[in-house]
Symmetry: C2
Amino acid sequence: MTSQQQNAVLVSAPGKVILFGEHAVVYGKPAIAASLGLRTYSWIRRTNDSNVRLNLPDIHTLPITWESRVLAELAAAHYRASDWATPAVLTPESETALSALIEGVTTPAVRQATLAFLHLYLSICKGRSDLDTCVRSALPVGAGLGSSASYSVTIAAGLLALGGYGEDPALVNGWAFMAEKVIHGNPSGVDNSLATYGGAKVYSHGKLEALGGFGSLRFMLTDTRVPKNTKRQVELVRERKLRFPLAMDLLIDSVQGIVEECKSLFLDVEQKRVSEDEMLTAMEALIDMNHGIMSACGVSHPSLEMVRLVTASHGLRSKLTGAGGGGCALTLIRPDTTRETLDSIKERLHLEGFMCFETEVGGVGVTVRSDPDACAWDSFADLPAAEWASLVSTLDKP
Amino acid sequence: MTSQQQNAVLVSAPGKVILFGEHAVVYGKPAIAASLGLRTYSWIRRTNDSNVRLNLPDIHTLPITWESRVLAELAAAHYRASDWATPAVLTPESETALSALIEGVTTPAVRQATLAFLHLYLSICKGRSDLDTCVRSALPVGAGLGSSASYSVTIAAGLLALGGYGEDPALVNGWAFMAEKVIHGNPSGVDNSLATYGGAKVYSHGKLEALGGFGSLRFMLTDTRVPKNTKRQVELVRERKLRFPLAMDLLIDSVQGIVEECKSLFLDVEQKRVSEDEMLTAMEALIDMNHGIMSACGVSHPSLEMVRLVTASHGLRSKLTGAGGGGCALTLIRPDTTRETLDSIKERLHLEGFMCFETEVGGVGVTVRSDPDACAWDSFADLPAAEWASLVSTLDKP
């Protein structure tokens, strides 16, 4: 089962978006989620300096460093029974022990990411390797785009590959889920599955099934940078549902209809009953419909409507993705959409203070590369965010 | 049954808007329509110049004049059996005879209005009165706001009052419906009923019932001046419904839910279970929901979304009214909405080329006044549209 140990790996994993079914999923309806081409990149290399180092330059100024000896002792005390082949949860006792190692880290997001890293490192490597780890992400953090899952997947896949334990996606996904539990408490498992496997999946009653026939599609993701509050948006829908059940219950049901139509569409694609152009036209209608229903549920926002207006003026269709009330919107890019059109849309949306990313939805999951020459360590860690983003956009995708 | 003959009357009747349920009504669902405070005004006076004259200054340059003797002969030949108390349809034979009287009139809207006038004049007055009639309307024509019904109601009520036949609304409504048949072929009867009775009504399966508890509400009506094509919009919904039945059938059903919620809301208002503020807040949510569903059905338009964005930026909620794809939007005005807010919204929407009207929805139906001093004939007929609009805004409403 084990394969060649590696000296350095560059691992990347995608984010995720909800394509259809947000909010209705709260009421037991199915949703369709897909991988998002904005990826998290973890570069991990062995060193011989008796240290383990975690560098998260985008969210924490300095690398966090532990002596390997200290980690090995901790592993011996708390991770003796753990096995790289059996993903296991961080126990409260281990959490207490790990917390002592990160007393200086106060930002919650950095603390959680660090705890998750340490849990995977101790479980898989048992404190037996000196490592430098640097993680950077093209994903906006906290925007509901699965940035923590894509981080967790790259760490899990990277540590397993470095240890010579192979690249079994089920194992990567299992460990990433354990890291997600450290970060989120009670994750659904959707985000790490999409970061691991890529593609598009139907999520229903706690289960994921692949959406057959769905290849990757080009989308523009717009981050309105209007802070979203998922909990508040879920409450808003619940309140409206309690106040106006006669209309809202059917609206929530109609979201399920959108998901069923999407499944049926890609079954037709798989069986070559519709052309690509027909598929895109149908997707545009479903995007329009799903957004309209979300607007009817009260979770749109003027910023999201502005994205819709601007893109519609160029013939493109957009919808909110995620909880709404701000946050992100997705715009389907057609194959015949010109560079000028996209630039013109982006320019207009930048004027509103929004950030736009051209990317794909439904692309590949985690990838592990062991040719570290592809990207020099120094530039990977030290580049300013904008230059780094430009650099990673040149990395080949396997 | 007959009352005093009048020498001159000023009759006015409201337009109508659909508050909730447009498009779903095509599939047998109920809709809520209400009178619109933009009114049509008909001034009718007896003369002794042996002529009957119809002046429609806003849509036809010159008054159309017939010799009373010619009309009396035509009445004797074709309207012998007709009775002012029994509304009757224009027969094909009579239509042929009347057409000979308006050969010079080529604009379809003017021809239809003139035919309808002649049918009512010959039915009710039998060619026995010399008359001057002048009609002006504050309603945009062809915008789905019931301008023809409000015209028909003022002519019917005016001729009945002048003839001394009283102001029985059922009779006025019956004759107006006959005029609507001349103009539209196969009208639903909703528009003339609202122009006659005012208020708000639930229309379901060809029947109208009053919406209890609904007083009049202040609204801003915005005419986007984007030409609407009702038939095309109805087709768009039908196509989307055929293509995506799983989602669309439930969406259409959810519109019925909105109408039921609205009925239930005003039952609560009637029984004093909700305050005015709660009613307005609920109306705002229903407006939002209904518009979102229409958007999901594909019948919104960037111009309508712009109205929503601009009004939302001032805390007001808007929805399309009628077929969508352009046409008009309604914005609920709250009692605490300031003059500055309204002016600021109007200024912004004027920049888009839209026309805004502050008005009421659900106000009184037809009114007949016999104090012709209220408004001098000459200014009524001859003022430019803008000045006239300003003049009628000063007319008292009984």
